[in-house]
Symmetry: C2
Subunit: 420 residues, 2 copies
């Protein structure tokens, strides 16, 4: 336990918001107020852009009640950004930090943000400016390496699982009219979120996973997508059940790595990191819905909740909210113990009962590493999750969910001689 | 109070489900078990299709605990349908009813279902078959006449209002990257649901309705849509705020009555009633998003939760659930009092405190009548709701919602001589 630097703590939020990223911020503020080494607690307005523009906000005056409300407020209260720093801009940031005697920096974000974090730490070291830097994981994509999972994932996953379960019941009700629903889930490169849509199938225990409950098919980007097989899957399930609920990642690709439906999409944008912003387009679900209608002549609809899934505070996983707060508190504890250059991680101790503890991984290792879903989390056919994924993900969404009703009464025997 | 017929009660669910239509069913079953005039309680499997096919289910064995669970289960537990009866099929239904000694019929549904209900009553009278018929209102569209509002509306409206509020915060967080979000709401002909998206703007009292909170624009189908004015609206708000959150009904039309974006949409279907199933297509939000990107070169995304909005049980309005149950109970009470030929209605006694009582309207009047939004519920510019709509709709969604946090700390004074 080294002696911490004495100076201002600056905290920023980066990348796509989550329903619990403010819980991390609340954890940072609450814990920082307890330590004397922090001569001020400032927030970056719109993440690293706030550092560049010297737009900082005082956070010390937030009361305990206000922090509790903050922990229950969706999106990034400080403002967030998707800004990739130019080489010469890192120097500007260090200038701003020097001017305000910033000696502690916490960045709450995903892959790209951990890279930013890491490079600030490196550059400060080179230029001889003393500063402690800690990253706090946040992403609904759940794709950060070295941590069991990422705060934000559990809540976005919970919304998606509940939406799929409930809309699956809607489809079942309307099965004499509707045939196919295709729900598009966020997650460009990894299928963690898409896969979680199937967690609403689980009844009372992880092993009770009825085939006929929605969703019936799940396609993640880790498995190459084949249109023929897709249509086969739909046709088979429809023949058996009279309905098919499909959840598909926005980022599914064919064997050649080409995004599905891409050729039907004009004018798609790229974000500042050069990633294709697939969700700005009409999207893959709309495309697949067209195919199903044309090739199978079935009634098909697509659902595209998009950002609602990462914002909806009514469906937050309490486990996720608690952990989001804990990683915020943990980051400040590391700083107060004189540490720097790490990202707080969650280390799983057991699935049942679910237990995690905080740990830390070097920013250098985390930066830009992307954690794909292990192959064993998807079945051999590549269209449904496995028990090992359920055991991994169910506690993160506060599952299994309370049961829904099914009418149990017998069918009344027929007495009429029906002609049709 | 006339003497009721003695015989079997049959209940069916019709049209698009809601998150609380099963609460009406639970109310029907629970109340029917208390009356001796009902010699059996049967459910129609998939609505009137179940009558045609003689697919009936016994409902009497459901326990109080099971009925409570049912009242908390989304979608139509009996199965629903969108089936328009042919003239000769009414006779078949009466045959099935005769065979099972059905003397009471409750149909839970919208406009088309009340028409079905009414015609069964008429035909029975003509053919001398004694049966009591009562309709129970249900529609997220809120477009039934003679009732203050429709069970199902409050819950779908609550989901939409919460989703808009929370995703509005997401857009605000990301305003240095994203510019415009266009959320497509269900409701083909009437704007009740679309308008409700703005209820999340309300803070603590109906009069506190901040202009800058999402949504900034709301377009309902009752007001002709003009693309030029739309782009003007967006450009102005974006210039002022740096972000624009738009909610648009799936059914907006231009002055000539042409659906917006329709010409870009191929192969759109029609339902059994000849209505255009607009939501089967890519939809108007995708089209408007394209326009905004092309004409204003702004970053724009569309959200299309679609059926999620009428299924999501996590966001149910408790007021709505209670009323849904009450109209179910009320229908049975009418039957037990010997009445027939009416739809249960909700009659508002006061806005604050909110109070409604049950009443009844003739099926002949309700059938196929469609209640549009009154002009005074939309502002003069035709792009936002008014205080009178807020006073009408806020109690139905259990609003105002608990406040979200906003950071209150001051901005830290600049000390650096910034070059950019």
């Amino acid at each position: 336990m080294a002696k911490p630097l004495r100076g201002v703590l600056v905290v920023g939020q980066s990348g796509g918001p989550t329903p619990v990223i403010n819980a991390s911020l609340a954890g940072v503020i609450a814990e920082a107020k307890r330590h004397k080494c922090f001569t001020g607690i400032y927030g970056l307005i719109h993440g690293i852009e706030g550092a560049l523009k010297e737009e900082l906000r005082d956070l010390e005056s937030e009361t305990a009640a206000e922090l509790d409300l903050l922990a229950h407020t969706p999106a990034s209260a400080l403002g967030s950004c998707r800004y990739k720093l130019e080489e010469d801009e890192y120097e500007l940031i260090l200038d701003v930090f020097r001017t305000h005697d910033v000696r502690h920096f916490i960045y709450i974000g995903g892959n790209d943000s951990m890279d930013t974090c890491h490079r600030i730490a490196e550059l400060a070291a080179i230029s001889g400016y003393k500063i402690q830097v800690i990253g706090v994981p946040k992403t609904i994509d759940n794709d950060l390496a070295y941590t069991d999972h990422c705060p934000g994932y559990g809540s976005a996953a919970r919304f998606l699982a509940l939406a799929t379960r409930d809309t699956g019941r809607d489809l079942e009700s309307m099965a004499t009219f509707d045939d196919v629903i295709i729900l598009e889930a966020m997650g460009r490169n990894t299928g963690w979120l898409t896969a979680a849509a199937a967690l609403g199938k689980v009844q009372t225990t992880p092993a009770a996973f009825p085939e006929d409950e929605a969703p019936h098919i799940v396609y993640v980007p880790e498995i190459p997508f084949d249109e023929e097989r897709f249509l086969d899957n739909i046709a088979h399930i429809h023949a058996r059940l009279g309905r098919v609920f499909v959840v598909v990642s926005e980022g599914i690709r064919d064997k050649a790595g080409q995004f599905i439906g891409q050729h039907k999409v004009a004018d798609s944008g790229r974000d500042a990191f050069g990633h294709l912003v697939h969700s700005l387009t009409t999207g893959v679900a709309a495309y697949l819905t067209d195919i199903v209608r044309e090739e199978l002549t079935l009634q098909a609809r697509f659902l595209r909740p998009g950002l609602i899934g990462r914002a909806m505070s009514s469906c937050v996983s309490e486990t996720d909210r608690q952990e989001a707060m804990q990683v915020g508190v943990g980051a400040v504890t590391l700083l107060a113990n004189g540490q720097s250059g790490g990202m707080v991680t969650l280390e799983r101790l057991s699935d049942d009962p679910y237990r995690c503890r905080l740990s830390v991984a070097p920013l250098a290792d985390v930066a830009n590493a992307e954690k794909l879903m292990p192959r064993e989390f998807v079945n051999d056919d590549g269209n449904m999750i496995t028990q090992s994924f359920i055991e991994y993900a169910l506690p993160l969404v506060d599952g299994p969910f309370p049961l829904l009703a099914r009418l149990k009464g017998e069918q009344i025997p027929r007495r009429t001689n029906l002609q049709n």
